[in-house]
Symmetry: C2
């Protein structure tokens, strides 16, 4: 019954998506020139995604078959569902986005408010689909498994849900990284050769890389981000359900508790949709104010909605006791969910402080630009390092408070509540690439400068909301670290306790104490991964940008008419070149987190033994969080701050556009690009995939002969 | 008897220092103009150090008095010895360095080999004094405590040795940070306003910041580095001794085992001195080859020397069993020492690969400079992230191998052996600022360009050896993490087991399992510190550089004759301004690691209780290592690579000096400056000080009423 309701609420997101898309498509798509440009962007984006998904499909097919043999058909199907829905969320979101961009540009030529409405509605479609499809995927597959006769706590159910998370993670890491490399290769390369060498403005139609840059916004910031949040959402819900099934194994209350996270997610889809209707530009023209209003309404309604779900699903006064002896009431769980919402709010505020144009950090980078490129970058790096401290403290407080309330399950519920608002948060984020594109289209189709001013104002807010989403996604991973680690240890303990059934685990003794050197080695190995992964991402962007620079220079050289505006650049070649390069570059780094737990396990197994290997892999899961949290936060916030420092100067401070300070700020922005849009955000799925692979490894070993 | 021999060998370093200084002073100090410049540098450096030590003395006096009351007079004296000797090593080293610089410039005007000899001998004085004074401090104070009647395993002995480490750490963090801020404030500020704005070359006498830049090399790269390595050396030896006293408490073999680390250090002072005589420029003029030869001889002799010490002090076949039940022989300990030497060698090679001009990383940054400032910085950041992986893997392998051989004590012996070569490694490093200064003096006194070519060649090697030393120092901290953590847990267990004597620890239950949320919170809190600390260091450099830019601009404006070479800039004002600024900026970040364990402990104590607070602080000690290792490695290697990428271009690649690529490389070098010389290296003492303060906190709590 509850499941049916959850599925119905999940379907609401699809209904909203269809309705919003339809109303978007009715908006004016502008002049023929604008349509032509938007068409080129859409074509490039579709071509890229097609190629990306084809490549991932090959990797996915291998894993699918492997899972059938190593585990079971039901598990492999779970993997497939996660992968397909994640890809679908990104694909649909991107398709809406490439249609909304031109309409936003057209609407912005009327008023800022109209532009905001279109852009935000387009973002909301992506947001609701991400949350809705993730919820539906988990809920529907869980229902099917139940209907065909599995118990809620059955290993196959757990493994199938974990595999669903793995499917989502796999798409996500490829999409985040591939899309990120594409978009920043285009952006950095295009800026270098256009703005710096040829001295033409951003998005100038004479720049052969300009369409590729706009394609990149859609495949990276829209489709890539959608896959990332889909994964975060799915993995969190799955981990919470797995934890419930372990902590309440054999408990009569398990069936209702296991649905509690789904219930929270379902009601928050409704509150997120409701919130979107409150995003309207206020009289003071504050875009951030409009977005905050909608977010505030969503959050407030969620407080009420989650209270209702708590009352109906788990009961405020019911006492629960886990198999490990922790006791709590429904009321405690509700408070944990409230803490999750509060953390979301606080992280939003902190990120806005660090990346918004109105506060000290961005202003300090802008001021440092006056003394040159070097000081701009130094100050930006300083801010990026500093920006990690407050979110980390918030997460630490969150861990302590929710653990005190309801133990590990309390932490899991807090993360679930945090991510339940993903629909709205993704809407805030997916709005960014639409406005960025709209600006590009306005520039290329030579609309009046006021239009560009409007889209620039929207874009500056987009930089902040993009940083906010990333901080939120990585923050939830930080808070969820213990949940994922708990899933790993609980699984291990289950297998060890039932070693007669799972002979591989006979005589395994876990020692997760920090005094165990294998734990320290695991922490260091995990800690190394985000750095190495970040290095690969940054290098890939540098290489792609370099090849774009060569290509653009070649076009300028072979067709001198381009710069005079007489000849048309070959936009398609740049898109094609980047597509191939990005796909090639994404493979190795994406496999790093997939293979690391497996390789790490077998190396320590060979050197020391099973017990040590399991301890080291467990520690590795926390190690990857401990450094990953800081690396990701610093990269995403720092990059956002650099970008907005440039915008702040362009708004007329420190000499404005064309000044020496502006040139230094452009350098900082360029450096921040791969930080905030490639390496930084890809750390998030990387952390999750390492954890999920470790869980699957356990399942596979449990299946093995021993 | 063994102690007397150890002290005699320690005194050899002082003898070497006196002899080498005397032979240095006999070298030709060049023209009057050169002497005048060198005099100005020496004066500025002395003025800075005087002010820095005065400031630290105030902090130190407060702590000294506090230690008398909180612990005992013997402990406070230990603190004083550590602080005074650390300061002395830095002070003497710097004084030799400011005399060697001008003599190196003069010698380089004759031949590269002559320049190398003077510069390296000056570095060797600092190196031997660092190792010798640290060894003497520990050995002599330990002898005194023994003579006045304390047992080797007495708490007062342990506390006094820990306090000695704390004294060294405190000087070290201030000196590293203060010196780092001074040197890079001058370097960055001077470059920005000189090279970039005024278009005059580096070290041009018309630049009012140029003397300050040279002063900075001495107070930061020489005195600051000396204090850092002194601390690393002292803390490692002390931690190993503490571990011995805990692991072999009540064992008749304790007195000989506790002297084993001192014996290793003593013999390696002899082998390091011997190695210095093999540093001679070979026929192929390879400076690095000359240094490697000396290092190779030292290392090979150390293998023999440590074998002799092992035979005499612990016996190859003697069986040892710790109180925790680990058994090993003297032969196992010898192998651990060998592993320590091998790790040192491997880290040297890896660091040279990442920072030397002959390999892919530096070349890739140079190549990326062709497409502009942005790509230079992106590639530099990518390399800096990547450069962490191999050293981290080496450390992991080291932990596993040495732990398998002889448990935690084996790891401690490996770190001891690693640091026993500090004398030679510091010599490699302290040679850097001398050659850097020599180049400056050559430029300012308008010596023929060939001289500058020679000093530049020496300087490029100096950049690599500086990165090597930092990698080595932080690598030893990574390997030593478990030792320091073991000292903390062993101490705690000792207090808990004897709660009747230490009532504060009654009913404390330790749980260092990763499944404990307070452990995760501790890991995150510790993980946050290097990021926050790095942010503060970077910001401080940015601010100081900004004030230097303002000052130089003011001088250029008020005295237009400076640029025409008719008027002399006021060098003293820039030095004075930086001195004040650096001292002010160093205080808050230096207190961060001192206060964090204390504040962290009391907050968790208030929220959750003693057991949780001790677990969280313990986890914090590992957290600070896990992120600190990577942050420090990435900053020091990345910075070195950026610097040498600039040098590589200046050698005539990608257009050479004055090309657009060169400008981009200058930006990268500027960014790398605070990375490699301020924030990065200061992370090393930061890690140690956090650990030492935690140990002292335990001692103080044990002393308290409960």
């Amino acid at each position: 019954m509850a499941l049916v309701l959850i599925i119905i609420l999940g379907l609401l997101s699809v209904v909203y998506g269809v309705w919003a898309t339809k109303s978007l498509m009715e908006a004016d798509a502008g002049t023929p020139r604008m349509r032509e440009i938007a068409g080129a962007i859409a074509e490039g984006a579709q071509a890229y995604l097609k190629r990306q998904y084809t490549t991932i499909a090959i990797v996915g097919a291998v894993i699918f078959v492997a899972l059938i043999f190593l585990l079971s058909f039901a598990v492999a199907i779970g993997f497939l569902i996660g992968a397909v829905l994640s890809a679908a969320a990104g694909f649909i979101g991107m398709n809406v986005s490439v249609r909304a961009n031109v309409r936003t540009a057209q609407a912005a030529s009327k008023s800022l408010g109209a532009g905001l409405e279109i852009a935000f509605k387009s973002g909301a479609v992506t947001g609701m689909l991400v949350a809705g499809l993730a919820l539906l995927g988990v809920a529907v597959y869980y229902s099917i498994l139940r209907i065909i006769g599995f118990d809620p706590g059955d290993r196959t159910v757990i493994d199938a849900l974990v595999a669903l998370g793995f499917g989502a993670s796999l798409i996500s890491i490829f999409a985040r990284l591939g899309g990120g490399i594409f978009t920043k290769g285009a952006d950095v390369g295009g800026d270098l050769v256009g703005k710096v060498e040829a001295g033409i403005p951003e998005d100038d139609p004479r720049n052969p890389a300009t369409i590729a840059d706009n394609v990149g916004d859609n495949v990276g910031d829209c489709a890539g981000m959608a896959a990332d949040l889909f994964e975060t959402y799915a993995v969190t819900v799955v981990a919470t359900m797995v934890l419930a099934s372990i902590f309440f194994a054999g408990n009569a209350l398990l069936p209702s508790l296991i649905l509690y996270p789904l219930g929270i997610c379902a009601i928050c889809i409704v509150t997120s949709i409701a919130g979107t209707f409150f995003v309207k530009l206020p009289a003071n023209q504050s875009i951030m104010g409009a977005l905050y209003r909608g977010f505030g309404v969503s959050a407030a309604l969620s407080l009420v909605g989650i209270a209702i779900v708590t009352a109906l699903q788990v009961g405020f006064t019911t006492e629960y006791t886990t198999t490990t002896g922790t006791s709590f009431t429904g009321w405690d769980l509700y408070l944990c969910a409230v803490v999750g919402l509060v953390i979301t709010g606080v992280i939003v505020v902190i990120t806005e402080y660090y990346t918004g144009t109105g506060y000290r950090p961005v202003k300090s980078i802008a001021a440092a630009s006056v003394t040159g490129h070097g000081t701009n970058v130094i100050q930006g790096l300083a801010i990026s390092l500093e920006a990690t401290a407050l979110p980390a403290l918030v997460i630490m407080v969150g861990i302590i408070v929710t653990y005190s309330l309801a133990g590990l399950f309390g932490i899991a519920i807090a993360v679930t509540a945090m991510l339940a608002l993903a629909g709205f948060v993704v809407a805030l984020d997916a709005f960014g690439p639409v406005t960025d594109n709209a600006g590009g289209i306005a520039e290329m189709s030579e609309l009046p400068p006021e239009v560009r001013t409007s889209t620039d104002a929207l874009d500056a807010v987009g930089n902040t909301t993009k940083a906010v989403t990333k901080g939120y996604a990585i923050g939830s991973a930080g808070l969820g670290a213990l949940v994922l680690f708990a899933a790993y240890t609980s699984d291990l303990n289950h297998f060890i306790a039932n070693a007669s059934q799972y002979p591989y685990f006979a005589n395994v003794k876990l020692d997760f104490s920090l005094a165990n050197p294998y734990v320290v080695v695991g922490l260091l190995f995990g800690g190394m991964l985000p750095f190495l992964f970040g290095a690969m991402g940054m290098t890939a962007v540098g290489r792609c940008a370099g090849s774009i620079v060569e290509e653009v220079r070649r076009q300028f050289r072979e067709k001198p008419g381009i710069m005079e505006g007489k000849d048309r650049p070959d936009y398609g070649r740049a898109v094609d070149l980047l597509t191939k390069a990005a796909i090639k570059e994404m493979i190795i780094p994406s496999l790093l987190p997939v293979l690391s737990p497996i390789v790490g396990y077998f190396i320590i197994l060979a050197v020391a033994g099973k017990s040590e290997a399991f301890s080291a892999v467990g520690a590795m899961l926390l190690g990857v969080i401990v450094t990953g949290l800081f690396v990701a936060l610093s990269m995403t916030s720092g990059g956002g701050a650099w970008d907005n420092a440039k915008k702040y100067i362009e708004d007329g401070h420190h000499g404005g556009k064309g000044s020496e300070a502006h040139k230094a700020a452009v350098t900082g922005d360029t450096v921040g690009d791969p930080y905030k849009d490639t390496a930084g955000p890809a750390v998030n799925p990387m952390i999750k995939i390492t954890n999920i692979v470790a869980l699957l490894l356990l399942a596979i070993l449990a299946h093995s002969a021993g």
